[in-house]
Symmetry: C3
Subunit: 351 residues, 3 copies
C-alpha cells in the first residue's frame, strides 16, 4: 500500500495536467514532465511550484520544465518557460501529488491474504483487502474498498469505513470505529484503556474503561499515535481531523472537525478541542478544559485553562546560549521579588 518512489515512474503531458488540475497552461500541451521536484532541485523533466513568495528568486534560476504559479507571478514564470497558472498553487501542487500517486500506484487487488486470521463472524467486504498475518476478530466489519495492512489487529466489534487504508501493524481496539477514506499509519493504537484510577489507601484502583473510540471520515493518523477509549462514553475525533506521529489523545477527548495536531502533541482527558484548531509540534492541553473553534497553539505551548477566543497562543521558553539562559533562569526564580523591589522603588519615588 505505501508508495515507493520507484513505483511511481509515470509521466504527464502538460495539457492533461492543465485540464485535470483546472489550471491555465502557458507552453506546449504536448511537453511531458516525469517527476515533481522543488524549484532548486528540479531539472527539465520535472514540474515544480511556487507558493511562498519568498522563494521568488529561486523561480528565475530553477531548471524546472514547468512551474505552477499564481496569476501574480505569471510574467516571471513565462519568462523562463512553461507554466501552469493556478488560483492556489499550493493546493494545485497537492492535487498534482494525488494525481501522480493515483496513476503511479498499482491498484490493490482485493484479497484476504491466506495467512491472515479472520474470525468467521467478521465481515469483510468483497472489495476490501486484508494483508498478510493480520488478525480480525469476531463481529468486526471492514467496508468496501478498505485496506487492512499486514499484521494489523482489528478487535471484536470494531469497524473500518469504506476506502480507509491502514498501514502495517495498526491496532484498532474492540468496539472502536473509523469512518470512510481515512489513513492510519503504522504503530497507531486506537482504543487502549484510558488512564483512570481511583486513589485508595496509597494504591490505585482501576476504573475500567467502558467507552470506545469514534473517528469520523477523512481522518489521517500518524505513526505510533495513541487514541484511548473513553471511560463511560466514546472518545471522539470528528471528520477531517489530521493527527501527526506520536500524538497522545487521552480518554473522553473530543476533537472538532478539520483540526490538525502536529507531532508529539498531547491532549489530556475529557478536554474538548473545537473545529479548525491547530496544535504545533509538542503542544498540549490539560484535562477537562475547552478550546473554542479556530484556536491555534504554538510549538510546545500548553493550554492550562479553557480558551474561548480564537487566535494564536504561545508559551515557550526562548532558547539562548547556555550561559545566558543560566543567568536568566536563575533570575526568573526571583522574579516575583524583583517586582516587589520595583514597587518599593516606585513608592520611594512618590514620596
Amino acid at each position: 500500500m505505501p508508495r515507493v518512489a520507484s513505483d511511481l515512474v509515470t509521466s504527464f503531458a502538460l495539457g492533461e495536467l492543465a485540464e485535470r488540475l483546472d489550471a491555465e497552461l502557458i507552453g506546449d500541451p504536448a511537453q511531458r514532465v516525469h517527476r515533481i521536484a522543488s524549484l532548486d532541485t528540479a531539472d527539465a523533466e520535472a514540474i515544480s511550484f511556487l507558493s511562498n513568495p519568498r522563494y521568488l528568486p529561486a523561480l528565475a534560476t530553477s531548471k524546472a520544465g514547468c512551474v505552477i504559479v499564481s496569476s501574480s507571478h505569471r510574467d516571471a514564470a513565462a519568462l523562463r518557460g512553461a507554466a501552469l497558472i493556478a488560483a492556489d498553487p499550493y493546493l494545485c501542487f497537492a492535487r498534482l501529488t494525488q494525481l501522480w500517486v493515483s496513476r503511479g500506484r498499482e491498484a490493490t487487488v482485493p484479497q484476504v491474504h491466506p495467512s491472515a486470521v479472520v474470525h468467521p463472524e467478521a465481515q469483510v467486504a468483497a472489495t476490501a483487502s486484508v494483508g498478510a498475518l493480520a488478525v480480525i476478530e469476531a463481529g468486526a466489519v471492514i467496508a468496501e474498498g478498505a485496506v487492512i495492512g499486514a499484521q494489523c489487529f482489528i478487535g471484536s466489534g470494531a469497524s473500518v469505513g469504506a476506502q480507509t487504508r491502514l498501514s502495517a501493524q495498526v491496532v484498532l481496539g474492540a468496539g472502536c470505529h473509523i469512518g470512510a477514506r481515512g489513513i492510519v499509519h503504522s504503530g497507531v493504537v486506537i482504543g487502549a484503556d484510558g488512564f483512570g484510577f481511583a486513589p485508595h489507601g496509597g494504591r490505585w484502583e482501576k476504573i475500567e474503561q467502558l467507552g470506545g473510540v469514534r473517528i469520523g471520515d477523512d481522518v489521517e493518523i500518524g505513526a505510533n499515535t495513541c487514541i484511548d477509549r473513553g471511560a463511560l462514553e466514546d472518545t471522539v475525533i470528528e471528520d477531517g481531523v489530521k493527527l501527526d506521529n506520536l500524538v497522545q489523545i487521552a480518554h473522553n477527548v473530543h476533537i472538532g472537525a478539520h483540526s490538525a495536531l502536529a507531532g508529539t502533541a498531547a491532549v489530556s482527558g475529557s478536554t474538548r478541542i473545537g473545529a479548525h484548531c491547530t496544535m504545533a509540534g509538542g503542544a498540549g492541553v490539560v484535562g477537562h478544559v475547552t478550546l473554542a473553534d479556530h484556536v491555534h497553539l504554538g510549538a510546545r505551548s500548553v493550554a492550562t485553562h479553557s480558551i474561548h477566543k480564537p487566535g494564536l497562543y504561545t508559551g515557550l521558553f526562548p532558547i539562548d546560549d547556555n550561559a545566558s539562559w543560566e543567568k536568566n533562569a536563575a533570575t526568573l526564580r526571583q522574579l516575583h521579588r524583583l517586582r516587589e523591589r520595583i514597587r518599593a522603588l516606585e513608592k520611594n519615588k512618590e514620596t
Copy 2:
C-alpha cells in the same frame, strides 16, 4: 480481551450492587440499572455518581435511576430517587466498573491459538491464553491465567506473571519480567536497549546493554510506552506503578511502588523515583537524580536536580496570546540585566 461497549450488555439490581459494593441503599433493592453514565448523560436505566462537590448542581437535575454519593450528600440524593451511600463514591464507582466488566466480559477460554509460534522450550501454563500470531521464544514462562494478546512477542527467557494481560502487539524483550495481575497495552516495548554510548574520535561506541527489566505486580502500562533494559543491572518498576501512553523510561531507572506517570512523561537514565510519586502529562526527570517519595511534578515540568522534600513542583511557561508572549519572552532574555538595573536604582536611592 479488550471490552467492547456492546459486549457489556448486563444489568444489576440495586440490592445486589449495595451488597457487592459495601454501600447503603436508599430505594428499592429490586430496581435494576443497565448502564453507568455521568450525571448529565444518565437516564432512568443508568447509575451515576457524584465524587466532586462542584458537580452538585448536576445531581439535582440528573435523570439517573440511581446515584452513588457520600453520606454528606445523602439528603440531596434521596430527594431525587434511589441512591447508594458510600464512604468514597469515586472508589465505589471504580469498583462498580470492575463489577460491570467482570460480569459483562466473556471469560477467555484458555488456549494457545494454533497460529501462534511457541517455542517448544517455552512454558505456557494450562490456564494461560496465547493469541493469534503471537511469538513466544525459548525459555519464556507464561504463568497461570495470563493472557498474551494477538501478535505479541515474548523474548527468550522472559516471564509473564499470573493473571497478567497483554493486549495485541506488545513486545516483552528477552530476559525481562513482569509480575502478576499486570495490564500491558498495545505497542508497549519492554526491554529495548538503553541509550548508552562512549564517545570516541567523534563517533559513538556502543555500550551493550546487559541488564534486563523487572516489573512488579499490579502494574499497568499504556500504549506505545517504552521501558529500556538496564546497562549492567535491571531497570526496575515496583508494584502498583501505573504508566500512561507514550511514556519513556530509560535504562537503569527505578520507579517506586504505586507511583503514576501520565502520558508522554519521560524519565532519563539511572534516575530513581520514589514511591507514591506522580508525574503529570509530559513531565520529566533528568538522568542520575533522585525524587523522594510523594513528590509530584506538574504538567511538562522537568526535575533537573534531586528533590528530597515531598510536595508539588512546577516549571511550565505560562501560555498567553502570542503578541503578549512575544513581548514577555523577548524581555525574559534580558531578565538578568533588568535585575542589575533594579540594583543600580536601589543603590542610587540609598545614596
Copy 3:
C-alpha cells in the same frame, strides 16, 4: 536476538582482556572475571570501571575483582587489587561489553522462519535471518548477515544493509533504505507519510508523500521512534547517527553524521541538523531551520531559529515548588510592563 542476562554466562581471564582491550594489566593474567558491574555492586568475580573522577571514593571501597582505570588512577587502583590501565576507561568499558556479548550471545543461525511471509520477488541473502511471522514484500533486499526480527514488516522495494539487526515488530516502509551494521529496536516506524496538507476551504487537502527515507551505516534507532518519508525527496539520516526511543523525525529532515538525539526529541519538517550535534531528552527543533555542526541542545529546549555557532543552547523553565512557581509565572506575564516601569524609574532618576 536481544540478549538475556542469563544467556551471557561467560567469563574471561584478565590476561585475555588486557590483550583484546589493548590495556595494561596489573595483576595475575590467569585471574578470571564472570560479570561486569558498577563499583558499588561488584564482587570479587566482577570487573568494574572508573571513568568519572567523582566516583573515586567508590574505587577504594569497591569489592570488584578487577577495575579499569586511567593511568592517573593507577596507584589508587593497584592498592586494592587487579587493574586494567586504559587510555580511556569508558571506551574500554564499552568495548568490554561488546566482547562480553560477542562471546555470550549464541550466533544466530541464518534461516528464514517457515512462518514468515516472504514475497518470491524479495531477495534475502543466504547469511541473513528472517524471524517468525515477518512479512517481506516484493522487491525488498535483505543483505548478508542482516537479521530481520519476528513480526517485522519490510515494504516493497525497501532494503536492509549487511549485518543490520531489526528487533521484533519494526516497520520499514516501501522504498526506504537502511545501511550496514545498523540496530533498529521494536516499534520503530520508518517511512510513514510526512504530515503535509494544503489548506482549502477550511479543510486539509493531502499532499502525497513521494519521497523515501535513506539511512546510513552504523545507525541505531530506539523503540517506537518514527522517521517519516520525504514529500518529494528523501528524509536522510547520515552515518553513525544514534536516535533514542520515541523520537520524531518529520519529513525532509536531514541529520548529519554522528549526531545523537535522546528520548522524545523531535525534529520538525525540512530542518537540517549538522554533524556531531546532540539533542538532550525532549529537545526539539522547529521546521525549515538549520543547526550547524556541533550544536548541542539542552533538555526540552526548542531551537526556534537556525543556529550557526557551535555550542550548548538551553531554554527550559526552571522547576520550583509550586507556590513559588505560581508567583513567578504570574509575574512573568507582566514582565514587559515591569521593564517599562524600570525604564520610567531610570528616567526619573536622571531628571
